[in-house]
Structures are given as structure tokens and as C-alpha cells.
């Protein structure tokens, strides 16, 4: 067994080394709460998935129509493109609705009167510090509404894809508008995703 002086040495803050005399973490420590898992699904799975499919859709529309000759896609390729656009819209709506109705409520929960530990009340925690208050007044306020615009744009593009199929690659005006809407949706989702990372870093929804 180590001597007292040796224990003190090993627990020295400068070294940040633990000996076996430092209590081990509790065996029942919870790694993730249900709410934090929901938040991760919202941000990483759905939001991240939407970002990827938006980018893939943008690339697909550009690459498939890059030829100077009119494009005639095989039926299978047309179907793949259509399903890619639909998947984009579905992911966007799941992220938006999940965010609004499952993740946002615990974020904005009001702490009881007199409570000093605001760690379970992310909005109050963020706004209590002048240095982080902008994360709510700017960041979350944008996240409340802007993703709905992205979802609407994604749905319009999916609808065009399903109605027109590969014709959307031939009609220059339609293709241009599809590209613009996909690009705007991508930028919007990228911005709100980044804001979400910042907010969750400072005040995670647990």
C-alpha cells in the first residue's frame, strides 16, 4: 500500500494522476439520459442525415444534368433520384417536428422559484450568463423557425422530383429552381445544426 506522502503526490492537481486511493466512479453512473439520446437522434441522425441527403441531392442534380446533351435517365436511376429527394424531405420533417415537440420543450422548461442549479434548465442556464445569452436570443430563436423553411423547400423539391422525374434535369428553369431551393435548404440546415452544437455544448438537454 502506498504511503500517505505517495498518495498526496499522485493526487497532485498538477499531475492529474489518480491512484487506487481515489474513489472509483459509481458503477450506476448513467452515460446518457433518455432526453440526451433524443437530442442526439434529432441532431446527429436526423439533422445530420438531412444535411447529407441535401448535399447528395444537390450533387445528383448537378452531375446527372452536366451533359450538354438532353439527359435520358434509365428508369432505375430516375427512381433512385426520386427516393433520394423524398428521403431528404422525410428527414427534414422528422428533424423539425422532433426538434419542436420533443427536444425544445425540455430546453425551454422554466425552473422552479428559488432554484440555483440551472443545469437541468438549459434556456435559463444560457440566458443567466451574459456571455452565452446570445445562444438563446439569436441561436435558438433562429432554430425555432428557420428549419421549417428548409423542410418546406425540401418537400417542394421532392414533389417536383416525383411529378417530373428525370424531366427536372432537362427543363432548365425547373432544374435551376430545384438547385436553388436545395442549396438554400442545405445552408439553412448547416447553420441551425452548428447553432445546435453550440447550444448543446453549453447547456445540454439532459
Amino acid at each position: 500500500m502506498r504511503a500517505e506522502s505517495s498518495d498526496a503526490f499522485w493526487r497532485d492537481d498538477h499531475l492529474r494522476v489518480h491512484s487506487w486511493t481515489v474513489p472509483a466512479p459509481k458503477d450506476d453512473m448513467e452515460l446518457f439520459t433518455g432526453q440526451s439520446i433524443l437530442t442526439m437522434v434529432h441532431g446527429i441522425v436526423l439533422g445530420g442525415g438531412a444535411l447529407m441527403t441535401l448535399f447528395a441531392s444537390l450533387c445528383a442534380v448537378q452531375i446527372l444534368s452536366s451533359s450538354s446533351e438532353p439527359v435520358v435517365l434509365p428508369v432505375k436511376s430516375t427512381r433512385l433520384l426520386q427516393w433520394l429527394l423524398v428521403a431528404t424531405a422525410v428527414l427534414l420533417w422528422l428533424a423539425v417536428i422532433g426538434g419542436t415537440y420533443l427536444v425544445f420543450p425540455p430546453y425551454r422548461a422554466t425552473p422552479p422559484e428559488g432554484i440555483t442549479d440551472l443545469s437541468q434548465y438549459p434556456r435559463s442556464l444560457i440566458t443567466s450568463n451574459p456571455q452565452t445569452a446570445w445562444l438563446h436570443s439569436f441561436g435558438m430563436e433562429i432554430k425555432e423557425h428557420v428549419p421549417w423553411i428548409a423542410a418546406i423547400l425540401g418537400t417542394a423539391v421532392a414533389s417536383i422530383g416525383f411529378r417530373h422525374g428525370s424531366e427536372l434535369l432537362v427543363n432548365r428553369d425547373v432544374k435551376r429552381m430545384v438547385t436553388v431551393m436545395l442549396a438554400i435548404a442545405f445552408l439553412l440546415v448547416a447553420v441551425v445544426a452548428l447553432l445546435g452544437v453550440f447550444i448543446n455544448k453549453v447547456a445540454p438537454v439532459d
Binding site: 419542436t100 425540455p106 425555432e144 423557425h145 423553411i149 411529378r163 431551393m181 438554400i184
Partner: protein, 94 residues
């Protein structure tokens, strides 16, 4: 074309409802209490979008619509809607 223009209308509706709320002219009811007013605002905007889509689809389904004015209008509406959701913008109306 109906899907495109209605998307622009829907995007603008999101921003417009936010402005109305911030200006105190119209406060959307909270459809889901824990989510607050955003649940009402976004639902109203989505409803405006869907109604516009239905109307435009019915009116335009058997006629040719010039795409360029529609596209330009849509882009303006989308950008306007995004701008109106920006806190520094809607705080001017608050």
C-alpha cells in the same frame, strides 16, 4: 410551378407570422403547451403553405405558367421569409 411558388409563400409565411407575433399584432396560440408559441406559429405557416399549394395546383394544373416570373417571385419570398425570422430584423418590430 405550384409546388415552387407555394414553397415561397410558405417560407414567407413563417417569417411573416414571426413578425406579427413580435409586433404584437397576432399571437399564435400554443398548440402544444411545453413547446410554447412556436408550435402555433409554425403550424399556421405550414397551413398557409399547404392551402397556397392546393389553390395554385387547382388553378394552374391545366395551363402553362411562365416559369421565370414564378421562380423570381419564389426566391424573393424565400429570402424575405428567412430574413424576417432573423432576430435582429424582427426585434425592430418588437
Amino acid at each position: 410551378m405550384a409546388a415552387i411558388l407555394s414553397a415561397g409563400i410558405g417560407a414567407f409565411a413563417v417569417g411573416f407570422v414571426v413578425i406579427l407575433n413580435e409586433a404584437g399584432l397576432f399571437t399564435a396560440p400554443a398548440l402544444y403547451g411545453p413547446a410554447g408559441g412556436v408550435s402555433g406559429r409554425t403550424t399556421i405557416a405550414a397551413a398557409i403553405w399547404l392551402v397556397a399549394w392546393l389553390i395554385l395546383h387547382i388553378r394552374w394544373k391545366s395551363r402553362h405558367v411562365e416559369p421565370r416570373p414564378v421562380n423570381l417571385t419564389t426566391v424573393v419570398l424565400i429570402l424575405g421569409g428567412i430574413l424576417l425570422t432573423f432576430p435582429p430584423v424582427w426585434s425592430l418590430f418588437g
